[in-house]
Amino acid sequence: MKHINFKTVCFVGLFASMMGSVYADTLRMAYSVAPKTIDPYKSSASATASLNEHLYEALVSRTNEKLLATSYGWTDDTTLVVNLRKGVKFHNGADFTAEDVIYSSCRMMYRVGGKKNMLTSAMGPVTDVVAIDDYTVAFKTVGLYPILIQKLKSLSILDSGDADLGPTLKFDNTGDCGITRYPTKDEFATGKYANGTGKYKYESFENTGDAVLVRNDNYWGEPGNWDRVEMTSVANSGARMAGLLAGDYDLIENPTGEDLLALEGNSAYSYSTMPSWRTIFLILDVGSDVAPGVRATDGSNPLKDIRVRQALSLSIDRDAIVDKLMGGNATVASQFAPSYQDGADSSMPDMAYDADKARQLLAEAGYEPHHISIDLRMPTAKYQNGTRVGQAIAQYWSRIGINVTLVAEPWSVFRKGRSARELGVFMYGWGHPQGPAQMISYAFGTRNKALNLGGSNYSNYTDPDYDAAMAAWAVETDEAKAFEYNQAAMRIAVRDLPGIPLYYQHSIWAHTSDISVIGRPDERTFADMATKN
């Protein structure tokens, strides 16, 4: 039954009957970040996507389960054919067909209220979307684009009946598509068109991020676990945990590791963890002649020397960080993406710790103690325990004789500095649902606009073998081969250390003991992760 705080009720017993109506199976969740909108394409932010995932479904889930698609495959280099699930109904009762996929592709590109959606990258190289029959749809691409099916995970399917389609529906990149009327922004905000095929139906959404959802009883698969889901968001982790302990919520996301200690020995509460896809790593400017914020007595960029980079990596005791700072809720990294993600080479050894060898390598490279000064830059309030980890790394580096200044800045200031390439050494976190290749393809590839490689190469790293492997990966439609190319590139990156992998974050959910939770690796919180005991 519902978990109302008993003492609270006693304290104010007289008016207890005025308490909010309590539903039979209601799940009250507290997010750490507020969802911003119920428009599925408007924002790429994780919290917004978490909320929207309750309402809408894509062809394939983030964990590669087939949702509205039953099968798919490339019929030639530029055609992806998807077979659609039959008998699926939208929340308003309309049937799901190929037309809805075309409409949704158009809606993704359409500028609602004149504004481009944030989530359009799926449609980038797509030239056409055509219905072969009511339950088969083909995506045509401009060139080889093997990761399209991954990208399509962000194409939430909406009901084409909510718009006036006009005489012919023909996909184009502006979203015009011959459609005579789309629901406007304000109409969409009323929730009337929050009409998907998901396990939960829209009931209300406030701009504070509070939402109420109810179960979709006509769901095509296993129906949702809860009659009703109430979501709110509480940014402060202490307040979120206090809310759980005070009986305001049944499930909260991202409690701090410290707070979990408070739950131990309290049988009314429990927590679940799940290794996530987010890797925390450092980026080193290895290419510039003078790296910003990195000084050596001889005026060079010491990070160009592989021995210095190895020393920096070897000096860090990742096990201690994971145990002492993360409370065990992290995994020591072996590479720049989780070794447990599909497509990763799980046999790579953990990054080693050997402070003596680090000092020796520095000496071999010709740097005496205190000859190198590094500004370690990082964002505040961004990653679990981030600033504490930053301080620990500064401790380790200073022990091998490097002068470290830790500069922790608000995310906004940090991002601006990063885009201006003013950060020579910085901490970052990247979590990717589209496989381990994604992150390194952006972060370490030589800039290649055609294949979309190296867009975030702040290391200024370039290596021909690496680039060859990444270029082969980018056009490989055979999954097994793509994985091999990716693993080859990853091994080169770990050999050359254009950055330093630290650890993989785990996601944590704390909850009352009357529910069980099985988490997800993509850092999203979904009501059906929880089941009533």
């Binding site: 705080n5 005025m18 909108t37 305001d248």
Partner: protein
């Protein structure tokens, strides 16, 4: 009087313009809204398009005039982050801030003034000294520290009151309020008390020194000599006279309360405008921050004006002046 009002308006106009300039250009220095809104996977082209869409491709002065021009016509712009009209965002959250601020005010006045008058009249009693000591401790304790202690005691150890969020809201005049339901009131309790503690202490001190000052004025001595009863003295002479400074300060402090609610709302996750401001500063949601500060400025002007009128009303010397 009219000249005075006009002068006031002129000054506040300048205040609003200076504020908007500082904030607008200041936030430009801090960060790039495009960077904040874009993913790691955005291509350069995506970023350029996003900038065009937000109007950020134009020169900064042009952005400023476009924005302030719209504002003069009542359009406070569209939030970069929420993609909704800023005025809507602020207006939807204002009730939440108002209700805890006003509740705090009521608690502050209701407890602070009687305590102050009491300790003013019985200046040398032990009770008065104890009260005064506690109010000194109260206003020496930073707001956020009080909040931490309140949460630890009432939400975590005793589990009497919720520590975060606004709870259930009900509609009245088309606005959602928390104070209309018990659950909402419970959620209001801790943030309102947090804001009220400082108020209680300030009011107690004001009322105490006001009482003392009046007690020793000649007309009071005279009234006592005439044999007027003690209660009547307090009612007739004391209350009315100490109200003047209290009304002045209270009026000014309503603004202070709303400003200070930034801290309280952040700690208690109360979805008011203070929390909106902090979030928007972090996200460089420039339209929201500029609009918030200009609206706050206008509110202060209004409050100061009301205070002046109240003051005139309470002080017969001003009221009877023509």
């Amino acid at each position: 009087m009219i000249k005075y009002i006009l002068k006031r308006l002129w000054h506040s106009g300048i205040l609003a313009i200076v504020m908007s300039l500082i904030v607008f250009f200041g936030l430009y220095v801090v960060g790039d809204p495009v960077e904040m809104l874009s993913d790691d996977e955005f291509t350069e082209q995506d970023k350029i398009e996003l900038a065009i869409e937000l109007g950020l491709d134009k020169p900064l002065y042009e952005q400023y005039f476009t924005y302030t021009g719209g504002m003069l016509q009542g359009d406070f712009g569209t939030s970069f982050v929420y993609n909704r009209p800023v005025l809507d965002l602020i207006m939807e959250r204002l009730p939440a801030t108002l209700e805890i601020s006003l509740l705090a005010m009521v608690i502050g006045l209701g407890i602070g003034i009687p305590l102050g008058i009491f300790s003013g009249i019985k200046n040398n009693s032990r009770a008065s000294k104890i009260i005064s000591f506690f109010t000194t401790v109260g206003y020496s304790t930073p707001n956020f520290w009080q909040a931490i202690i309140l949460i630890m005691v009432f939400a975590v150890f005793l589990q009497w009151l919720p520590a975060s969020g606004r709870g259930l809201t009900n509609s009245m005049f088309g606005i959602e309020w928390a104070w209309l339901s018990l659950n909402g009131l419970q959620h209001m309790a801790l943030p309102a008390i947090n804001l009220a503690i400082y108020k209680i202490c300030m009011q107690q001190r004001l009322a105490k020194s006001g009482t003392q000052e009046i007690l020793y004025q000649e007309y009071m001595t005279f009234a006592r000599a005439k044999g007027i009863t003690r209660n009547r003295i307090i009612r007739r002479h004391l209350l009315r006279n100490i109200l003047i400074p209290i009304v002045t300060i209270t009026g000014l402090e309503v603004g202070g309360l709303i400003a200070f609610s930034t801290v309280t709302e952040t700690i208690f996750s109360w979805p008011g405008i203070g929390k909106l401001l902090l979030d928007s500063i972090h996200m460089i949601d420039r339209p929201v921050v500029v609009a918030y500060l200009i609206l706050i400025t206008l509110m202060f002007v209004f409050i100061n004006f009301v205070v002046d009128v109240m003051y005139a009303f309470l002080d017969p010397r001003i009221r009877h002046q023509k």
